[in-house]
Structures are given as structure tokens and as C-alpha cells.
Amino acid sequence: MKLELKLAFRNLFGSRLRTLLNVLVLSFSFVIIILLNSIMDGWNQQAQKDSIEWEFGNGQLINEKFDPLDPYTILDGHDKIPEENIGLTPILERQASIYPQGRMMSVVLKGISSEQEILKLPTKILKESKEEFPVIIGKRLAESAKLNKGDRVQVRWRDSKGTYDANTLSITEVFDSNVPNIDNGKIWIDINKLWGMTNLENEASYFVVDGKFKNPELSSWNFKSQFALLKNLKDLINQKKTAQSVVYGLLLAIALLAIFDTQILSIFRRQKEIGTYIALGMTRLRVVRLFTIEGSVYSVLALIVGSIYGVPFFIYMSETGFPIPPADQKMGIALAEVIYPVYGLKLILMTVLTVIISATIVSYLPARKIAKLNPVLALKGKKQ
């Protein structure tokens, strides 16, 4: 084995340019795989953290008639707050229309306690405001409705019986959140105010729960754990990861094809050398092993070269982050302006193993031909 390793390194360093090109292409694939996966992992971590902080809390207790993804259910999807409500922050949703600059826009009024602390929403401002109908909105709604902090806007809604009511909302704060679900078309108002506006006192569409919640069996309310609420997000990111694997799969395939090509060429051109090895007493299996090691050493060298220029690049990326274009941030999923890559040990080990194993396999496949070579003909230099 020691001899094979020694010979493999000597042969590789002997053919300088060919080795350098193979190593560079493979190292590039190695760096790209780690970078793309680390960006996806960074997004995953950031999106989950933001979704928990801004939207999900420790889970949600949802009215059985209310489906957060179906606006048709807003009208009837609410009920009285149960007596056993420790650890529950009620949220009531009602549909409304606002009229910024004389345009009509459909929105959802979301009533939440101004004293809540479970979500990161700056609801305390609602309590401190002296306006009659103070509200807070997210930057996305502010942008689409062309509204700013301090602006006033007409709103029209219906009470519990269906009668129209209208008044003027005061925008007391425009918050910046990465979670579009709590921002796009949503206006946050004190729940007491919304109860008064709609005659739906002590009613809620759903609750955000905190650590004190014991999950008792409550009729007409269904509990969704934090894990279940994050499932859609995780599925989406995993789907994106799979789609992205095509890109680096192609890159890796190009690099492996180069190694495969080099191996075939080596075995074809170095038949005299192979014959000599066998004549000097090497078994065919050892010669196969020698050529396989030669091929897999490319991957080891690629990891070393990749680390030389990749590590500083990874450090730089983890500090500056990967900027996301504004258009992508309007996709409707939790996405920050900048994603900071996360380099996990699992990711690095998996990538290293993928590169080494795949390089070894593509090196071994052409080397199998050596086992079938006639050593006498090989020594004479006759091509087989």
C-alpha cells in the first residue's frame, strides 16, 4: 500500500499541468457544493428563527373553522376565548378595505394584545399611542400602499352582523420583518379596539402559545405545534436544495469526467509501464489499486487546494453574507435581505466524503481494464 501511495504521488507530480487542471476543477466543485449548501442551511436557520419570533411562537391553537391559508374562512372562523387560557395570546382576523391615495386595497385587520411579548411585533406602541385607531404595518404593505409612519388612511370593515363601518387608521409604526406572512396585506391593531369595532368581544381566530401552555383538550380549537407549523417552510427549503443539487451535481460530473478521461488516457498510454510493474512482480490487483489511488489522490489534492482559497472565501462570506435581490424577498416566504451561510460539520464531512468516494469510483472503473491486460504484449508496448 505504501509503495502504491508513493508511486501514485510521484506519477501525479510528474504530470504537472494535467494534475493541476484536474485538481482545480474538482476543488472548484468542492467549494461550490459547500457554498450553495451553506447558503441554504443559513436561509433555513434564519427563516425558522424569524418565523418563530414573528409568527408561530411555541405553536398555535387554531379555531376549527379557521384556516390561515384560506381567506374564505376568516368570516366564520372565530370563537369565544376559552376559560382555560394560560399561555395563550389571542389573535382575531377580520377582512377590511383601505383607501390609500384614493385606491381601494383589500387587507386583513389582525387584532392582538398590545401587551403581548410572545411575538416580536412592536405592539407596545399601540398602547402608548394617543390616536383613536393606532395601527402598525410591515414594510411590504407600507411599500405597496405607499404609506409611511404617521400617515392616516381610511378603512372600511363590517361588524359581526355584516354592516359596514368606516374610520381613519393612524400608522404609528412601520416594522421591518423578514416574514411576509405577517406583513403583506396585514394591519395590526389592538385586539380590544378590533373587538369594539366588530362587536366580537372576547373572540379569537387563533392563539399563539407560549411555554406556559399545557395543551388541554379544548373543543373547537386545534393545536398545531411549532414543528408542524414550520413543516411547510422546511419542505420548501428542502425542495429548493434538491433543485440546487442539480447545479452542483453537474459541476461535480464535469470534474469527475475529467478524472475519468485522464485515467483512460493514462491506462492507454502507460501500458509499457503496467507491463513492467507486472514483470517486476506486482500483481494485477496491486496495479489496479495503484491507478485507483492515483485517481482518488486528485480528490485529496482538490480538498487541500479548495481549502487554501475556499476557507478565506467562506470566512468572508460568513461576515458579509449573501445579498438577496428585493424581487426575491417578495416571494411570500421568510427571506432576509442578506443570508449568512452556515458551515456545519455534517455538511463539510458529507461533501468531503462525496468528493473522495465519487473520485475513487471514477478512477477505479477504467482501472479495471488492467486486470485483463496481457503483460507480455504490454511490455512490448503493443496497444490492447
Binding site: Q95, Y99, Q101, R103, R156, D165
Partner: protein, 248 residues
Amino acid sequence: MKTIIALFLSIQLPFLLTSQVSDLKALKIIEEIDKNMFSKTQIVTSEMIVYGKRKKRIIRSRGYSMGKENNFTEYLFPEREKGTKMLKLNERLWIYSPTTDRTIQLSGHLLRQSVMGSDLSYEDMMEGKRLSEVYVAKIIQEENYNESPVWVMELVSKVEGLAYHKRVLWVDKNKFVPLKENLYAKSGTLLKTTTFSDIRKINKRWFPMKMNYKDVLKDGKGTDFIILDVSFNSKIPEGYFSKNILKK
């Protein structure tokens, strides 16, 4: 004590009686309006003119209605809307689109969307309750409106669940037809204005042939609704008010 009560009654009674007489008169007036505006059946060919920022759109349709619950409308013009059908049965509304060959039922917030970009929502079009049944009327003023003597009447809802809590009507004293109507939210905010013009006598009833609906919270000139032809109490086949009519 008796003297005080007698004095109080002598002062208040004329006012109370006058007020009751006035309320009765107001009720009679809105009943007369209902007689003019409502009929057992109605077949209307109309044009809806929707004013946009740059240009206006004209949409022609023919509507068949039976009572206040059932209505079927077929769009005739422009080519893009031709063949679109709308059926309202009680509180439910279906729309058939020939381009997709599909029928969809509208409910919830979709009913609040505007009809083909106009200032009218599907809910506004579905509204068909007689004013005298659901509102308490009061005459608040008498004046001239567009050179016609009118009663200015305030109507406040007497039943729950009406879209508009309060309406103010300018009613033509001679024709018992509203010339203008303001619709208010519970807070008193003016939401919509309707103006009625080109009042004609058709089959012994006065009827406005042109209406302008305006959502006052929105910019723009509102939506004109012009009646080209109308017939009252004509026979409409039962089949017009079934879902099968939509795909015919």
C-alpha cells in the same frame, strides 16, 4: 302636580303627534318608492359605463329578475365579456365565464370585489330588500334638488345585518323616486353616493333610467348605469333561475 302634568302634555303633545304623523308620512313615501322601484319581475337591458383613469369601458347586459331573491344577468358586450353569465339565487351568486367554460360560486370577501372594475360590488348588485321593510324613515328636510321639490329623508336600519346602517334619500315629491342617495357606515362616514336621473313613466310607474354609483372613498367619476330597455311584470321562464342556464 296635576297642573304640571297638564302643562307638560299641552306643550309636548302637539310635537309628539306631529312627529308621529311625520313618521307615518315618511313610511308612506318609502312604500311609494318601493312600488316604483320594485316589481314581481323585471327584464332590463342596460349599459354600465366604468370610468378609468384614461378611458371608459362600456359593458352591456340583459338582466332578468324575479322578486328580490332571484336574478340572472347575461353580458352582451364587449366581445371579451360576451357570454359571461351571473346567477343570484337567494344569498348565493354564481358566475359563468365562457372563456374558461367554468362556473364559480362567489362568497365571503369575493362578494365585496368590484363588478368588472366598477364602483359596484357584487354585494351591492345582490341587494334587493324593500326599503320599507328594513329601514325606519324620517323626513329631515324639504328642499329643491335639480329644480325638483324633494323630501330629504333619513333611513336608519331597523333590522340587523344590513350592509348600510343609514341612508339619506332625496325623494322627488311628485314622482316618488329618489333623485340622490347617500349610503353611510355605522360611524356616520359617507361611503357611497348614487344619483338617479332621466326619470320616465313606464307602465304607470316612475323609474330612473340613468344612475351613477360612486364609492366616495375612492377617486374617480364612479360608474354610470344606463337602462336601455325595461319591462315590468313580464313572464320569465322558470328555467332562467336555475344553474343549468349558466352553461346554455
